[in-house]
């Protein structure tokens, strides 16, 4: 990975002319999008707009038919698999909260820490003070310190969402992809989640997919609206939500 002179863009994430189709259905159609380092971006769009597929492409789960996907200006993500991409520093929170239900909250975070992930490293692993301090800090940030020894499966829906955000923090990636973090949350939880993401954004680049407009408004960041696999509008939440095409897509013709 020779840097600098081969750097094609200053963007943290750079998608250009990306196409994906599943059995003739164009899930992603000439999608181009850039995410600057340190930016938080909200992605909105009706069902089937390609939001989750876009995240699948960035994290290596789906390979695009054509187009460029660059990370940090140098790394071609279309050639790498999920593990390699995660190691590079792209973390992902899924739409449906996916935590390891039969293990404790603490162990979930331990598994997420970005330490040696090799077979030998984990077989002979011994906890270190630095590691447990990091876990304590994450537990505090996601407000689950009291639940650290509970099984993740016994947490409430909102707590699971936070635990998953906490796992992203423990992973300490350069870019966080967060898919519908407030789905199924109460108003208070939604508010707290917005605060949490803003706090995380201080030293991480974030891409959030969300339907909840109050939440997106609260984040107060640049918004991209996707429709039928490509960008329909981009700008502040007020600009985007007053865009006629966006209104049309959301309300139907």
């Amino acid at each position: 990975m020779n840097v600098m002179d081969t750097r094609a863009t200053s963007a943290m994430l750079y998608l250009d002319g990306v196409h994906v189709s599943f059995d003739g259905f164009h899930a992603i159609n000439n999608l181009s999008l850039t995410l600057a380092p340190g930016e938080m971006r909200a992605i909105i769009g009706p069902n089937g707009a390609g939001k989750t597929t876009m995240m699948d492409i960035i994290t290596g789960k789906t390979k695009p038919d054509e187009g460029t996907v660059l990370f940090d200006g140098t790394v071609d993500l279309t050639r790498l698999d999920e593990t390699r991409i995660a190691e590079l520093g792209i973390g992902r929170k899924f739409q449906k909260p996916t935590v390891f239900e039969s293990q404790t909250v603490q162990d979930n975070l331990l598994l997420a820490l970005n330490v040696d992930h090799s077979v030998r490293g984990t077989l002979f692993w011994r906890g270190s003070k630095a590691e447990s301090e990091r876990i304590d800090k994450v537990l505090e940030t996601i407000r689950l310190t009291d639940a650290r020894n509970r099984l993740a499966g016994s947490l409430s829906h909102g707590q699971k969402q936070w635990l998953e955000i906490g796992m992203l923090l423990a992973q300490d990636p350069k870019v966080l992809l967060v898919d519908e973090p407030v789905a199924g949350m109460t108003d208070v939880e939604t508010h707290l989640t917005a605060e949490l993401l803003k706090e995380i954004n201080r030293n991480h680049t974030i891409m959030v997919v969300e339907h909840d407009m109050t939440f997106v408004r609260e984040l107060g960041v640049k918004v991209t609206c996707l429709h039928e696999g490509s960008v329909l509008a981009e700008g502040s939440i007020d600009q985007v939500s007053s865009n006629e095409r966006v209104v049309e897509v959301y309300l139907g013709r």
């Binding site: 994290t59 789960k61 999920e82 593990t83 995660a86 190691e87 973390g91 992902r92 899924f94 996916t98 935590v99 390891f100 239900e101 039969s102 293990q103 162990d107 331990l110 598994l111 997420a112 970005n114 992930h117 090799s118 077979v119 984990t122 077989l123 002979f124 692993w125 011994r126 009291d146 639940a147 650290r148 020894n149 509970r150 016994s154 796992m167 992973q171």
Partner: protein, 389 residues
Amino acid sequence: MTPHILTRSLDRAATAFVLIVAAVGVLIPLSNLLLPQGSMFHVPTYLVALWGKYVCYAILALSIDLIWGYCGILSLGHGAFFALGGYAMGMYLMRQIGSRGVYGNPILPDFMVFLNWDKLPWYWYGFDKFAFAALMVLLVPGLLAFCFGWLAFRSRVTGVYLSIITQAMTYALLLGFFRNDFGFGGNNGLTDFKDILGFNVQAEGTRCVLFLLSCLALVTAFLICRAVVTSKLGKVLIAVRDAESRTRFLGYRVESYKLFVFTLSACMAGVAGALYVPQVGIINPSEFAPGNSIEAVIWVAVGGRGTLVGAALGAVVVNYAKTFFTSGPLAPYWLFMLGALFILVTLLLPKGIVGTFNSWWEPLKARRNSPDADSAAREDGVGAPNLAE
């Protein structure tokens, strides 16, 4: 490093298990060798061999539990690794017969003479040495599991599809070993063993030592499994079992983890097979039969998947029942009973014997220990509602 792994992996139940197996391993041979025939505590030699067989099955069950209970890999072909380990040992025992065979050929085993072969096939070389055979017991199943797993896990074959190809693997080996020109005695397999390391395999003393060694192997396999599942690697395995793609997105190379436990498990199954053969006195292709592998999975399910102790217990309980029922008037119905057992366990005890016991016992234990247990239960009254969840 070693003491740390030991203290971590030996909780109360594990220690009890190790002590019981060790006690059985010592007491049964002692009673067989020292007590007079008429004593009510005397264990006859045929029972020593029979229980030795159960212990080998328990090792096989442990190896299956390690991959199925902890990593979610349901292998329906683990009998193949068991049988390969058994064949490696059988080949050593065949070479030990030497000129005492029916045809008196000092080099060639009887079945080769019978087939008019004039020299030993190359893959039989070295099996006259015990150390070489012992190495092959680990290496052959391990290597097959490594190659098989490397192809399957890299292509992300999981779930039912993996189970089906493991069945196909053991079936293919069954067909191969049935053939005379394959060079392993065909249909009849390898038998008529005389001695092992110079000791008569039929002798009481040899049988007792083999029994003791089997118990030692069971304890060793158990400790290895415990060390693996209580390490951080064990947590990764459970993560793979519960949410494979999530684990991948955390940056774990899932296929390497699967390959590691699958290979380790195959080596353990191989050792079990190697200890089994001198105690039962024969190894033939029927050990590769798909039904055997499925039966071994049933032992684990009955005992309790993901508990290790349960796997060993299940192997002994089911096989004891098998011996008991197949030697009485109920013999023709054994397979129906086995099927019914599997259905009943699935319906009534989905966690198996040990798993069900744990889910009864652990809340009780937690309640008793709650004042000095973890921080969640520190405040009085907080522990109780937590338990109700």
